[in-house]
Amino acid sequence: MSLKDDFPILSREVNGHPLVYLDNAATTQKPQVVIDAMSQYYSNSNANVHRAVHTLAGEATEGYEDCRRWIKSWFNAEKAILTGGTTEAINLVAHGWGRANLQAGDAIVLTEMEHHSDIVPWQILSEERGIEIRYVPVLDDFTLDMEAYIASLENAKLVCVVHTSNVLGVRNPVDELISLAHKAGAKILIDAAQAVPHDRIDFEQFNADFMAFSAHKMCGPTGIGALLVKNDAFEQMQPFMGGGDMIESVTTSGSTYQKNEHKFEAGTPKIAEAVGWSAAFDWMSKIDLPAHHERLLNIAKWTAEQLRGLGFTVYGRHQSGDGAVVSFLHPTIHSEDFARFLDAKGFAVRTGHHCAQPLLNRLGITGTIRASFYLYNTQDEAEKFIQIVQYIVEKFA
């Protein structure tokens, strides 16, 4: 029995060919246990959380809070706020921490490598509050310009940086980035959306102030993610969404808020999604993640070498610790055409700017074709992928 058998979608055909799913940096597929857990929740335990005394409400609350326990234990974190995903988690930092702690003239540091979800919230805040945004350039070898990073830290209040690039797969030197930010007196937010699927990060040891990620990139459902926060940063945050569940008491003259993570989880939360995410954690706890990551990185590296040999430009380096992502372009066949031809043969890849337009501007291109590998992908699939790529090149170049 292969790991692939746990994922029902992977047995389907696309356009008459077995599906080979290589769009994992966008979202991963879900094992049957995750699908079953969510279905079972709606079939058996559906209720709203935290308030009612009836049995179903107790089961729903346990299901929801069990997910928080999984997150805290998986990442060794004291505070885990459940959000709608990475984007919402970053917006929570921008509005919950940023509005309470940043003023006109303050500076924050981003990089050219960021996903739009780690750029746009800061631009909105910058326009609203007159905050300066400094961008750390990306060098020709696809790494961050560390000299420019150090210079940008002067009087900066916050650094927001991606752990692993969703376009390049490059893993940034996060330990160094965190340490330098703290030495300069700045807090640091890590966008770990592409990191957590491959790397079981210890948040306490990691020592970032905030870390954002999504469930759906690690076999969990869409629509849920988390923000890990260190205690001192947590105390500096103010809620930016008000409503039910986040209050202690409400009177016509004002409200008081809960002291724990619920303070930032206004309204009915993502209960079924939390139950599904717990099932994903449970499933992943039986997987040797480091061994799989090494295997997948080798597949990505092999694929990149083959593509270079066929005349493609590959954007990435595939060094130890990097993501199993291969971004590439053919000199004459348009990336969108290429992706359609691949889809016709059952291969799912991503094309376009991957929500990282500043990075693509820096690279002087408007988009790439991106193949990204995850736990269920195999070397055999990569070899079939290269065969089809070769066929497309021979026919259309």
């Binding site: 356009n15 348009h334 031809f341 016709a344 988009g367 259309f396």
Partner: protein, 136 residues
């Protein structure tokens, strides 16, 4: 719906092709059917928003007859433009405005016609129709 003869013939031809790759190859060939719209004339105004590729068009309505001029850096997108060219060029604006975009789905070219930002064909079709309405 009843399609113009040239388009109906194409729809019939496509209906005999089961293989998606062959459909795409055919669309690729249709990129030759467009009336050239020189790159020098491409601008923000002529750009089809929502396409991943650079795709541009202009519509001329002369004596009530439509002519679409267009081009794209993606051959498949330009092939879809070729398809629209076959469907509308040389016909009256009044006739063309009756056309619905469903034929692309009937031909198996597209999985979806929902007007999302990534659906280049729908955006192409809507822009052509809008230009005809303005210029007729």
């Amino acid at each position: 719906m009843k399609y113009p003869q040239a388009l109906q013939e194409l729809i019939d031809e496509f209906s005999f092709i089961d293989d998606k790759m062959e459909i795409l190859e055919y669309v690729y060939e249709l990129s030759e059917e467009v009336v050239e719209f020189p790159i020098a004339n491409w601008s923000e105004k002529t750009r089809i928003i929502g396409c991943q590729s650079e795709a541009h068009l202009e519509v001329v309505v002369k004596d009530g007859i439509v002519e679409l001029r267009c081009g794209a850096d993606s051959k498949i997108v330009q092939g879809m433009m070729g398809l629209v060219t076959i469907a509308i060029n040389g016909r009256t604006a009044e006739d063309v405005l009756q056309l619905k975009p469903d034929f692309a789905q009937e031909m198996g070219i597209l999985n979806s016609l929902s007007p999302s930002r990534s659906n280049g064909f729908r955006n192409l079709f809507d822009k052509v129709m809008l230009e005809i309405r303005i210029k007729q």
